[in-house]
């Protein structure tokens, strides 16, 4: 069907008046186009370099930093989902924390065993992780009658309710969630290899414990999530998302089924949140309800705004920043002015971090709505033409 509409092309043939050049030229131009346009090469090189560095990191860096990396990667996957939903499709969600919670508790329940007042299905961890992701997607689908009918900011307010409802469920579905105290999480294992301190692996003289093993697992998941997000954003769905964001009526007039497209963006972002939840479960090794509050949703929003809406690299950079900031501030509390470590009298590091990124969100909105990434681009563009 699409085949025929292309070959029916007659525009240039019959109108090769002074309006058009020979159709053949246009066709060849398209045919010889390289897959990676030259202007994207530096970005590709940077991405490859980042992955290479990330692969080598566990050999050189201690567990403290690796653990930050784990949390950052978990957050980055969630942020990728939100940047597809809000950055590309223009649909704000403040319910992201809810879907992350579904991923975390879904994994904990599916992979966990029965014990005490808790129940679990005891599935193999990989199956549990996949099912938890699908479960998050299913929850997204259940909410999509609301998500597909509201637009932009309104959806943000409506989805806020999910966080509160979710928290209520986490406290009350005790056999599944463990209530207020939460439940512990079964470590990941794949084909007999446990991603825990018990793995006994030693690489180049470095003993690989849970953190090192998980690092590679997380890296693989994050890279895959990033590539999928890029494909989606650059392909047909991404283009439909962005026109829908800029004008729903315009998108509909191009044949985009607006409600369905909104629902699909919402479900996809829920699944990303689900993956992020599974990773969070593995990194924390525990699931506690109070972690999944409104502030977590706002954290995700801050990540993609600071990184630059709709950009995959921006989501990763933003996630790293927002996750690392409080941990780093707290670690260096003694040498930093004002900030103090937990339990001491003074400006708590996590509060200080909120001041910083809250203020940054305000500043970014006032100056560079494209986020930190756009600032970098702006600087580069300013330099570019001058040096060329």
């Amino acid at each position: 069907m699409s085949e025929s509409s292309v070959s029916e092309s007659t525009v240039s043939e019959n109108t090769a008046t002074e309006d058009t050049v020979a159709p053949a030229r246009a066709a060849t131009a398209a045919g010889t186009r390289t897959r990676t346009p030259p202007h994207r090469l530096p970005a590709v090189a940077a991405a490859v370099a980042a992955v290479v560095v990330a692969l080598a990191l566990p050999l050189y860096v201690d567990a403290f930093w690796l653990r930050i990396g784990l949390f950052a990667m978990a957050a980055a996957v969630g942020a990728l989902g939100l940047t597809i939903l809000f950055g590309a499709a223009g649909q704000l969600s403040l319910g992201h924390a809810f879907f992350v919670a579904v991923g975390t508790y879904g994994y904990a329940f599916l992979a966990g065993g029965d014990g005490g007042h808790l129940t679990g299905l005891g599935l193999p961890p990989l199956a549990a992780a996949v099912l938890a992701t699908l479960l998050a997607g299913l929850c997204g689908l259940l909410f999509s009658p609301v998500a597909s009918r509201l637009r932009g900011i309104y959806l943000g307010i409506a989805s806020l309710g999910l966080v509160f409802l979710g928290h209520h469920l986490l406290l009350n579905l005790r056999p599944v969630t463990g209530g207020y105290d939460g439940r512990s999480v079964t470590p990941f294992a794949l084909g007999g290899f446990a991603f825990s301190d018990a793995s006994g692996l030693v690489v180049l003289g470095v003993p690989f414990g849970a953190v090192e093993n998980l690092w590679y697992l997380f890296l693989a998941v994050t890279v895959a999530a990033t590539l999928v997000a890029r494909n989606v954003l650059r392909g047909r769905p991404g283009r439909a998302f962005r026109l829908m964001r800029d004008s729903e009526v315009g998108a509909a007039a191009m044949g985009v089924r607006v409600q369905r497209t909104k629902a699909s963006a919402f479900v996809l972002s829920s699944m990303y949140a689900g993956v992020a939840g599974v990773l969070t479960a593995l990194a924390f090794q525990r699931a506690v309800p109070d972690y999944f509050d409104l502030l977590l949703s706002i954290d995700f929003l801050a990540m993609i705004i600071l990184g630059g809406l709709g950009s995959t690299s921006g989501a990763i950079i933003g996630a790293t920043f927002v996750v690392a900031l409080p941990i780093v501030l707290s670690r260096y509390a003694d040498v930093l002015p004002l900030v103090v470590g937990p339990g001491q009298d003074g400006l708590d590091a996590s509060i200080a971090a909120q001041f910083v990124y809250g203020a940054l969100v305000v500043v970014v909105m006032l100056t560079q709505p494209g986020g930190l990434r756009a600032m970098v681009h702006a600087v580069r563009d300013r330099r570019g033409p001058a040096s060329a």
């Binding site: 223009g90 704000l92 009658p145 609301v146 009918r149 509201l150 932009g152 900011i153 309104y154 943000g156 307010i157 409506a158 806020l160 309710g161 999910l162 509160f164 409802l165 928290h167 209520h168 469920l169 406290l171 009350n172 579905l173 004008s247 729903e248 009526v249 315009g250 409104l294 502030l295 706002i298 929003l301 801050a302 705004i305 400006l347 708590d348 509060i351 909120q354 001041f355 990124y357 809250g358 203020a359 940054l360 969100v361 305000v362 970014v364 909105m365 006032l366 709505p369």
Partner: protein, 296 residues
């Protein structure tokens, strides 16, 4: 029966307080198309100021101070921050208020921590016997006072020149601007008004039977968001109706907690969101919202 009546009166009282919060939120939205995500933290800031200063300067002065601080903060937000963003970029403005909310909440968390500060209102801790009903004085004052306040506001909007300008620009900003109405002034007024209403409602929320000012006041105030959606977001009458619905339902559900035990402990705190979702499924633009056809 008596108990149900008591619950209803309490629910209406809570609902009227929600209505004040929601009204401010909707007025700002109608006048400027900005969704103010910092609205609940404005409210908490207001009552925090009252509670923190009342011991030294007395409740009345503290209340005025709280109102003034939030009014000024709202004005500053509009004048110094939002006015720097392109008037049509409502997304950016809404996100800016989220950033502002993070900063405000962080500061209030730092100051309040786990504390509960007494509000020190003269009506705190008193109850009134009205025939068979025993009600907190706060509830009586709210049920009598808030309708007067809303009535006064309505009179202001319908009878004064300022109100006319306000309503004109709420109905059609571009048209009002052409007619010589200064939009900047209208939006500044809307923001200040919203801040004042929020603080007033906050004083009610922090009064007996609530134990005082704590961080949880903010999560209570957040229920004004679903109230606004239920009412329809762009309707002042809807804001009041949405607030009342949420208040009454919350109190009734919390009052029948035992028979609703299958829904879990604390269902009263989240029932507003359930109602919101049901309403959205039924009417995506809320009970009184208008369905717009974007012009192309």
């Amino acid at each position: 029966m008596i108990r149900l009546l008591e619950l209803l009166v309490n629910g209406v009282s809570l609902g009227l307080l929600y209505a004040l919060i929601t009204l401010g939120f909707v007025i700002v939205f109608k006048a400027t198309r900005v969704v103010n995500f910092a609205h609940a933290s404005f409210l908490l800031l207001g009552v925090y100021v009252v509670a923190a200063t009342q011991a030294r300067i007395g409740f009345a002065a503290a209340a005025l101070l709280g109102l003034a601080v939030v009014g000024l903060l709202a004005l500053a937000t509009e004048r110094l921050l939002l006015s720097r963003i392109d008037r049509h970029n409502h997304h950016a403005m809404a996100i800016l208020t989220i950033g502002l909310n993070v900063v405000l909440t962080a500061e209030l968390t730092r100051r309040l921590g786990e504390h509960v500060l007494p509000l020190g209102a003269p009506w705190d801790g008193r109850v009134v016997d009205l025939g068979p009903l025993t009600l907190p004085l706060t509830v009586v004052i709210t049920v009598a006072g808030v309708p007067l306040l809303i009535g006064g506001l309505t009179a202001l909007l319908t009878l004064t020149g300022w109100g006319l300008a306000m309503r004109a620009s709420i109905a059609d900003a571009e048209g009002a601007a052409l007619a010589g109405i200064r939009l900047r002034r209208v939006s500044a007024t809307a923001w200040v008004l919203a801040g004042l209403l929020a603080t007033t409602a906050g004083i009610g929320l922090a009064s007996f039977p609530s134990p005082g000012v704590s961080l949880s006041i903010e999560s209570v105030a957040i229920a004004a968001f679903p109230a606004a959606i239920i009412g329809g977001f762009d309707s002042l009458g809807g804001a009041i109706a949405g607030g009342l619905i949420v208040g009454v339902v919350q109190v009734l559900v919390a009052g029948h907690q035992d028979s609703l035990a299958f829904l879990g402990l604390g269902i009263g705190d989240v029932v507003a969101y359930l109602v919101m979702i049901v309403v959205l499924l039924w009417r995506p633009s809320g009970l009184f919202g208008s369905k717009e056809f974007s012009r192309v």
